[in-house]
Every structure is written in structure tokens, then in C-alpha cells.
């Protein structure tokens, strides 16, 4: 295993990505015309509610959208690898794990319950033609030790012998052990207690910096992205409604949905009633409007044009916002 050095992190460019799911009512888009750039060596966070399409977007990075879904348009360009949307068969399989690591939600059981972690690690090595099995085990132990675990013990354990936080670290180890440079973390801290959450986020940040990774974190928890992400993208109804540097987006949200989200966060000090829940509920696959803005039903700034035209994603400096109201305000 070649040791990772900073500076060689690949960039990822998602362009015009649309993912549709086949339903009795026809093919419905879960992700529509999403463009997103992950700068080399950066941590990008995607926030959104359940059903906003963020997990589907994450799976698209590995061209792993599960049937009945499929990528119907767009590309996912990864430096040094190419457009993974065109990959299939062995080529796709080898890209997964070796180039792109995927870390499952901690609450999910991402390990075979009948095999020890070490045996599954060796299966992984065999799948990717790793000849140096000792080296692989050593690398895994080092990674686990780096994350504060007793590597030898963990490799000798079954899934049910590990706690949620330990499983999550094992998941991160398995995503990185083959030296993948692009890492996708899907809800990395969901279902973990607060202290373990903080630990995992610290580990994500540190390992990211040490190994020179390009990282994407999917979450519904704005606190998580505030903690780790350089850039933040807000997803709603299968669309990216706003993206930009984390501090700017959180400190000065432009899109009415982002504003609503931030207003909904209860403050540690002050009156709990100051937190305002967004009225209405997010659209489902079937209720996402076919034309016009996906957020208009819950939007205070709704205009006539919102019913007919889908707002284009427009760059405002380092920010990208897709909202007619914002555009109007800028011009006014």
C-alpha cells in the first residue's frame, strides 16, 4: 500500500445528474439536474431532509443507484478515473473500494454477521487482488489504532461484539484500507450518542487531512456539516437549492429553504419558541412538482414565475443559489 500524501487528492465533478425511480406512475426523478464540484482535498457536506435525494446522490458517486432507480442523465467525473456513470461490470467493481470508499450509516449493519472483521478484510483484499495480505492487515491495524481502537482485537471480532461507534470506525477503515482517495460518508453519526458523534467527526476531519482525501458527507444534521465541511450544499426535493462555503451559507443563507432550516434550529440559550419549524412537509417522489420550483409550496417568497419555471442555479461569487426571488433581489 503506497502511503497517501496530500496534494494528490482527486477532484470530483457531478454535472447535470438526474436519477429516476421507476414507479407505477412512471419514472419519477429523485435527483434532478444536480451539478456539484468536490474540490480536491475538500470536505463537502450535503444536508437535506429524508427523501430529499441526498442518499441517492451519494450512491450515484459509485454508480450504485439500486433498482428500480437508474441514472438517466449527467456525469460523475472523478480525476484519474473518468466518468463512473459509464462504468460497468468488473471496471465498476474495481473502482468501488479501491478508488471510492463508501461508509454506511452507523446504525446499519454493514458487516457480515457470520465472519470476523479480519476475515472480511481479507475477502476485500482478495476481491481487489491485494497480494500482500500481511501488509493489508498491518494497514488496517494502523488505521484502527489511529482511530483509537485496539486493531488486533477488532480484527478478531464479530460485528455483534462491537459497539455502534466501533462499527462506524471499522466502516471507515474498510473504506480507506485500499487507499481510496474519494470517500463518501452517508449519515456517519446518525444513531450514535453525542460523545461518540464528536469523536467520529474528529476522526473524519483528521483522517481526511492526513491521507489527503476528497470527502463527501451526507447528513440531515446541520451541526455535523458545520463541524466538518468546507463547503455545504443544501438539497431539497431532488434539487440542490444552495451551495457555497459552509460559513457563508450558515451565516448568511440566501435561499428561503436554507433560511427556514437555520431558523428551525433551537438555540442553546434563549427562548425555545424562537425556533420556527418550516410550515408544510417536504415533497415525496410522487408529489415533487413536474414544473416550477420544488420549494414553492412552502415558500414565503412565492411568485408567479415559481409555478412555471424551475429556477436555474446561479453563481453569486462562491455561492450558487437556485431561486427566482434571490435573483430578483440581486437585480433590484
Amino acid at each position: 500500500m503506497a502511503q497517501a500524501t496530500t496534494g494528490q487528492a482527486p477532484g470530483v465533478r457531478v454535472d447535470g445528474l438526474t436519477v429516476v425511480y421507476k414507479t407505477p406512475a412512471g419514472e419519477l426523478p429523485a435527483v434532478r439536474d444536480v451539478s456539484l464540484t468536490l474540490e480536491p482535498g475538500s470536505i463537502t457536506g450535503i444536508v437535506g431532509e429524508s427523501g430529499s435525494g441526498k442518499s441517492t446522490l451519494a450512491l450515484s458517486l459509485l454508480n450504485a443507484v439500486q433498482p428500480p432507480g437508474r441514472i438517466s442523465a449527467g456525469s460523475v467525473e472523478i480525476d484519474g478515473l473518468g466518468d463512473v456513470v459509464g462504468f460497468e461490470g468488473e471496471r465498476l467493481r474495481k473502482a468501488r473500494g479501491a478508488h471510492i470508499g463508501y461508509v454506511f450509516q452507523a446504525a446499519q449493519n454493514s458487516l457480515n454477521p457470520l465472519k470476523t472483521v479480519g476475515k472480511q478484510l481479507l475477502d476485500l483484499g482478495r476481491s481487489h487482488g491485494v497480494e500482500d495480505r500481511r501488509g493489508l492487515l498491518r494497514e488496517a491495524q494502523e488505521l484502527l489504532g489511529r482511530m483509537g481502537l485496539d486493531g488486533a482485537r477488532v480484527l478478531d471480532s464479530y460485528q455483534h461484539e462491537l459497539s455502534g461507534g466501533m462499527r462506524q470506525r471499522v466502516g471507515i477503515m474498510l473504506a480507506l484500507v485500499l487507499n481510496a482517495q474519494v470517500v463518501v460518508l452517508d449519515e456517519p453519526t446518525t444513531a450514535l450518542d453525542m460523545i461518540t458523534q464528536a469523536n467520529i467527526l474528529k476522526i473524519v476531519r483528521e483522517v481526511h487531512a492526513e491521507r489527503g482525501l476528497t470527502t463527501l458527507v451526507i447528513t440531515h444534521d446541520i451541526g455535523v456539516v458545520a463541524e466538518v465541511a468546507d463547503r455545504l450544499a443544501v438539497m431539497y426535493g431532488g434539487r440542490l437549492v444552495e451551495q457555497g462555503p459552509t460559513r457563508q451559507v450558515l451565516g448568511d443563507p440566501r435561499h428561503p429553504y436554507t433560511k427556514g432550516l437555520i431558523k428551525a434550529i433551537p438555540r442553546l440559550v434563549g427562548d425555545i419558541d424562537q425556533a420556527r419549524a418550516l410550515p408544510g412537509r417536504p415533497p415525496t417522489l410522487a408529489t415533487v412538482p413536474k414544473a416550477g420550483c420544488v420549494f414553492r409550496e412552502r415558500c414565503a417568497l412565492r411568485m408567479d414565475i415559481c409555478d412555471t419555471d424551475d429556477p436555474a442555479a446561479v453563481a453569486h461569487g462562491p455561492r450558487i443559489v437556485a431561486c427566482h426571488a434571490v435573483k430578483v433581489k440581486e437585480h433590484a
Partner: protein, 335 residues
């Protein structure tokens, strides 16, 4: 491994107590069945045209004794004999130990039922995996339906159907007992060949009527495992298809081993219809006959054999689980 040894010791102790309890219960039930063996034989002879006097005389000669001890004393004798593995003598076969009768009959039950169970298990799980993978297609449905359908046909109807087709209309297979009497019993090609040839129809009957259950069980088990997160996780880690397939298979087959072990325990209960139709002098027929003839000793012996088989099967299933499922193993350690 001390854990397995400890578990085994516990199981054996419990099993031993269970056997004693079942032996006691079956002894008293069997001995309280209305009628007695001599009356049964007497009636049979009278029905056969013998005069009542002659019949009474014949019965007396045949059995030659009248039990004169109390039931309680008989029970103690029976249990004492049991501890020495002495099940007494068959009443309708004077002079023959029950153990010998059981041993003689057991092989004609084990042969077709064991082969049938294993064959149906094998066919069932393989087709079950296929039915799970192709569950959206027509072939997957067809497999599941065929299993349910054959499962729904009574075993004796299926058996007679096969006899009519393969032994009568197209006489290519024998259906007249377990083996051709021409051959000398032993490990010679002729005898074994004849054994196998005669076993084809009963084994196929048994397998056909049983494989549907295995298909459905395996199919649902595989579908459950396919939806498990770790399968998708393995794919996202770029695991080879063959390795992912092994993960699926091993996890899916786990619950089926329990059912298999338990059904092997029931095996000695015999398959009465199959034994009857294919003329296999097995345990199922023995049990029916001994009930009709009020042969207490044989009845008790047969019941006991079935009990012991089921208890052993349970123990084997549990120990097997300890070996193949790490979660069961550590559950014990924690307890």
C-alpha cells in the same frame, strides 16, 4: 472446545430426564389402551373362521403366559430393563427382542426417508436461491408454485400416481418392496444395485412432496438476506460477486439447518403411506401393526425410538448452531 462440551453435557442430562418421562407416560398410555393382545389375536382367528374354542386354545399356545404382576411392578421392570437397553420381547413375535425388531425395521425407514429428505433439501435450497434471485420473473413464480402444488397433493396420491406411471404404464421401475429377493444381502453390486433401483420411486415421492417447503423457506430467507445492509455494503466495497454470493448463501441457509435437523428427528416416525404403497417393512408400518395387535412392548419401543431420535436431533441442531453462528456462541458466554 469446552463451551461445546459444557453445552453437550447439559443437553444430555436434560435429554436423559426427558426420555425417562416420555417412557413413563407412553408405558402407562400404551398399557391402558382398551383391549389386550390376546383378545386381539383371538378375534383375528375367529374372524378367520376358527371356532371360538379352537381359537382360545391357539392363543393360549401362542402366548403361553398370563401377566400376573401388578402394572406398577411391570412398570418398574420395564424401566429397569430400559436402563440396560432391554426393551423386552415382542408380544406378537414371541422370543424376539423388541430392540432386534426395531433395528430390522429401522433400515427400511431410514433408507427412503433419509434419502428423500436430503434430496428434497438439496433440490429445495438450490431452487430456492434461484427463485429468490428471479423472484420478479415467471420462472421464479413457477418454481414456488410447483412446490406448493406438489406439497398440497397428499403423499399417498402422489405415490400411487408414480406407481401407476412408472411401474405399471411404463414399467421401468420396481415398486414391490425394498429389494429384489434374488440377491444375497451384503455388500455386493447386485444387492446394492437392486436396493438403489427399488429406492428410486419412494425417494422421489418423498422428495417431490417435501421440496416445496424447502423452496419457499429458502426463497424467503434469501430475499431477507438480499435486503440486508451488509450485502449492499459488500457490493459498494467492490467485493467479488462470488464472495458476495457466499455471504448471501451462508446467512440464508442458517435458519434452514434447524428445520432440517428437526425433520431428520421426525424421520424415524416413518412415512406410513410410502412404506405401505412401496412395500417397505419400515417403522411406520410396524407402529401401525403393533397398535392393531396391542403389542405393548413393540409399541412402547417404537415410541421411545421416535422420542430419542427427536431429542438427539434437537441437541444436534443446537450444538450445530453453536458451531456455525458466532452470535449464538457469544450469547452463551455472556450468559
Amino acid at each position: 472446545m469446552t463451551l461445546i462440551a459444557r453445552r453437550l453435557a447439559g443437553h444430555l442430562a436434560r435429554g436423559f430426564v426427558m426420555i425417562l418421562v416420555v417412557a413413563t407416560i407412553s408405558f402407562f398410555i400404551v398399557n391402558n389402551i382398551p383391549g389386550d393382545p390376546m383378545a386381539a389375536r383371538f378375534e383375528k382367528l375367529v374372524e378367520g373362521g376358527m371356532s371360538p374354542e379352537a381359537a382360545a386354545q391357539a392363543v393360549k399356545v401362542l402366548y403361553g403366559f398370563q401377566p400376573d404382576t401388578s402394572l406398577w411392578q411391570q412398570y418398574l421392570d420395564y424401566m429397569a430393563g430400559l436402563l440396560r437397553l432391554d426393551l423386552g420381547e415382542s408380544i406378537t413375535r414371541p422370543g424376539t427382542p423388541v430392540l432386534d425388531v426395531l433395528a430390522e425395521k429401522t433400515k427400511w425407514t431410514v433408507l427412503p426417508v433419509l434419502a428423500g429428505t436430503l434430496l428434497s433439501f438439496l433440490v429445495g435450497i438450490i431452487l430456492g436461491v434461484y427463485a429468490a434471485i428471479k423472484r420478479k420473473g415467471k420462472l421464479g413464480d413457477l418454481l414456488a408454485i410447483s412446490g406448493s402444488l406438489l406439497h398440497g397433493i397428499p403423499q399417498y396420491v402422489l405415490a400411487m400416481l408414480l406407481v401407476v406411471i412408472f411401474a405399471t404404464l411404463i414399467p421401468i421401475l420396481p415398486a414391490d418392496g425394498p429389494v429384489d429377493i434374488l440377491f444375497e444381502p451384503g455388500l455386493n453390486a447386485g444387492y446394492l444395485g437392486s436396493l438403489a433401483e427399488h429406492a428410486v420411486l419412494p425417494v422421489v415421492t418423498y422428495a417431490l412432496s417435501a421440496y416445496g417447503g424447502w423452496i419457499l423457506a429458502m426463497k424467503s430467507s434469501v430475499v431477507t438476506v438480499l435486503g440486508d445492509d451488509f450485502i449492499l455494503a459488500s457490493e459498494l466495497r467492490g467485493m467479488k460477486r462470488s464472495i458476495v454470493f457466499r455471504y448471501i448463501a451462508r446467512n440464508a441457509i442458517l435458519p434452514l439447518f434447524t428445520i432440517l435437523a428437526l425433520s431428520l428427528g421426525l424421520l424415524l416416525g416413518g412415512a406410513v403411506f410410502i412404506e405401505k404403497i412401496f412395500n417397505y417393512p419400515g417403522l411406520g408400518l410396524l407402529l401401525i401393526d403393533s397398535v392393531n395387535e396391542r403389542d405393548y412392548a413393540t409399541m412402547s419401543g417404537a415410541f421411545l425410538l421416535i422420542t430419542v431420535a427427536i431429542i438427539i436431533a434437537n441437541i444436534v441442531a443446537d450444538l450445530f448452531y453453536t458451531v456455525i453462528d458466532p452470535r449464538v456462541r457469544s450469547g452463551e458466554e455472556a450468559a
